[in-house]
Symmetry: C2
Subunit: 342 residues, 2 copies
DNA sequence: AGACGTGCTGCAATCGCTTTCATGGCGCCT
DNA sequence: AGGCGCCATGAAAGCGATTGCAGCACGTCT
């Protein structure tokens, strides 16, 4: 039923080889003939059979994207970016949701990786060892939001985002800042924590109160909000907007005024940040660009086994693409309440 | 480099044919041999080449999901459901974002449809004519959130959701209810509108004020919020939660109290509904189930050209799967303000 | 004029797997 | 004991595209 290259060739009065070349390597076939073949193909509605092509070329024209949670606006935005860029390049995207589970993630990469040209692995939850194994397969792998020796990656400047946030809070007079961290084992959380302490250290008199690890969702924020108050912090920095929103919600519910009593800062600037009142001050992450750049990096840079070994025998990582972030000040942060009383 | 069926066959001392059967049609090969082959395959880490299989069987093991906007929590949730169910069935999902554009949607269905076993088309924006054409191709097509003659579909009971919402508002004393409709041409919006008027008609003294078509996003809600007040409605029903949130935001911003002055009802019960204060009263849609059932319906019911013609010559639609919805009452709805003054 | 290069084209092999068909061996029935 | 049929197996034919290689025709250089 579907029209094959053979059909086109026959109809155009050329051999299949010529028909193929007319479409894929135009410079190899005489102009007149080439145009004729193309016209016939168009008119017959010819669509190359991808399976057949893949079988011989080894390329599928598919990319795979693995994310921890499609419903998380952060990943949804990245997915959208990946999607858009891939389409522009004529690639299709196979999406998989790992349900925040490192093992499932590993399995998905293994299963899906075999049938695509490359895998974009977003905020991987898997261990470094599992990552090593995944890299050992011969599928180009690109990490988003995580760095790993030998792996190509696109990341944001986690530490700098925190630095900007802290500088902002410090400027408003906050000296005791709580941090609601991300999931245990989150690479980006570790970077932010690090940046947080460095930033605090460089700002005289600034103390950091770590509130521990929090599930990166609304309820996670709800569950730590009281700790902010209990620790007498005048500001809290959350691992992401969802957590910030949860904190905000709980604070307001118990009568704490934001930003009068406590300032709240999120991270990501997901759409939800402006859904609430007061609108969330947050660190804007170029979500869509993260996705786009991931595809570009994967296509350009990670063609079949990106890791090489240097003469010294060390594993050489391709330099990560690092995207800058920018603090967006909205209504959830304000001048610090006068310390203690008043 | 990758291990092929040939390798397995050679290693196991059987012909490729037998190896193939041992893995795909176990009953056709002697138990001892079968197990041996399977063991060898496992041990060699054999992974069938999908392209080769597809080339001969014509089945790809891929499903395609087309949604208007991946970042919209409604579609994200459906995508997640589709994803999960497909994985359980051993299928991969190719996701495409049509950017709310009917033409792009049509093109995507055409392009991607050719390389998958079936397409789940979610809330299609394309015209009925384009849908007809899409159906004419021989790719099984399943519609979510839209019905169309001759197409299999999974929908929610749009009208009933609105009915429940109206009944709730009516019970609270609201008599003048505004409706912020969905995008022009939205099938579900038409169903809801219809249900709205029917519900209103059955409830004595209830008036409906149509606010027109609204972009199904936060800003869309913001832009019609003032109309609610201007029309002296005491309650407003929005096409979805995002719009409801926008309305809520704007009302609060201009000092209208919710629910004291105006009650707001959303639709979908997306996660965002509980992010705000007051929490949104909304119609809960079984989002994940929508996705799961879509996959099931596609796989079971729409195998290659679901439409048939009855003896009478009419096009026979497979009966749509209709999922029920349920009103979730939260804090954005309350007893109607006494009419006019006081 | 002959040799050689260049530019197009077609033949045929090939990718890895499935599936039809033919074959050989064995058990069972009469 | 012979014949029939069934079961398990292997040989081989593709699925639809790409591509190395060879060949042909023509133009050019010597």
């Amino acid at each position: 039923m579907p029209v094959t290259l053979q059909d086109v060739a026959r109809e155009a009065g050329v051999s299949p080889a010529t028909a193929s070349r007319a479409l894929n390597a135009p410079e190899l076939v005489a102009p007149a003939r080439r145009e004729h073949v193309r016209k016939v193909a168009a008119q017959l509605g010819y669509r190359p059979n991808r399976a057949a092509r893949e079988l011989i070329t080894g390329r599928t024209g598919n990319l795979c994207l693995v994310v921890p949670d499609l419903e998380n606006p952060f990943f949804a935005a990245v997915a959208k970016g990946v999607q858009a860029r891939a389409r522009a390049l004529g690639l299709a995207v196979v999406v998989a949701d790992s349900e925040e589970d490192g093992h499932l993630e590993t399995e998905l990469v293994g299963r899906l990786g075999a049938q695509v040209d490359g895998v974009v692995l977003c905020s991987p939850r898997m261990t470094d060892e599992a990552l090593d194994e995944a890299l050992a397969r011969d599928v180009p792998l690109l990490l988003v939001n995580r760095e790993h020796p030998g792996a190509a990656s696109v990341v944001i400047d986690n530490a700098d985002g925190v630095r900007q946030a802290v500088a902002h809070l410090h400027a408003l007079g906050h000296r005791r800042i709580a941090y609601a961290g991300g999931p245990a084992g989150s690479w980006s959380d570790a970077r932010r924590r690090e940046g947080l302490h460095r930033a605090a250290a460089s700002l005289p008199g600034t103390e950091v109160v770590e509130l521990g690890h929090v599930a990166p969702v609304f309820d996670g924020g709800v569950s730590v909000a009281d700790l902010v108050v209990a620790n007498a912090a005048t500001a809290v920095l959350a691992h992401n907007d969802l957590v910030a929103l949860g904190i905000l919600h709980r604070l307001v519910a118990r009568g704490v005024r934001v930003p009068d009593d406590v300032s709240v800062v999120g991270y990501d600037d997901s759409p939800a940040a402006t859904l609430v009142a007061p609108a969330l001050t947050t660190v804007r992450v170029p979500l869509a660009r993260l996705g786009r750049d991931a595809v570009d990096a994967l296509v350009n840079h990670a063609p079949r086994a990106a890791r090489r070994r240097t003469a010294s025998g060390e594993t050489e990582s391709p330099a990560p693409v690092r995207l800058s972030v920018e603090l967006v000040v909205r209504d959830s942060t304000g001048v610090a309440a006068t310390a203690g009383d008043a």
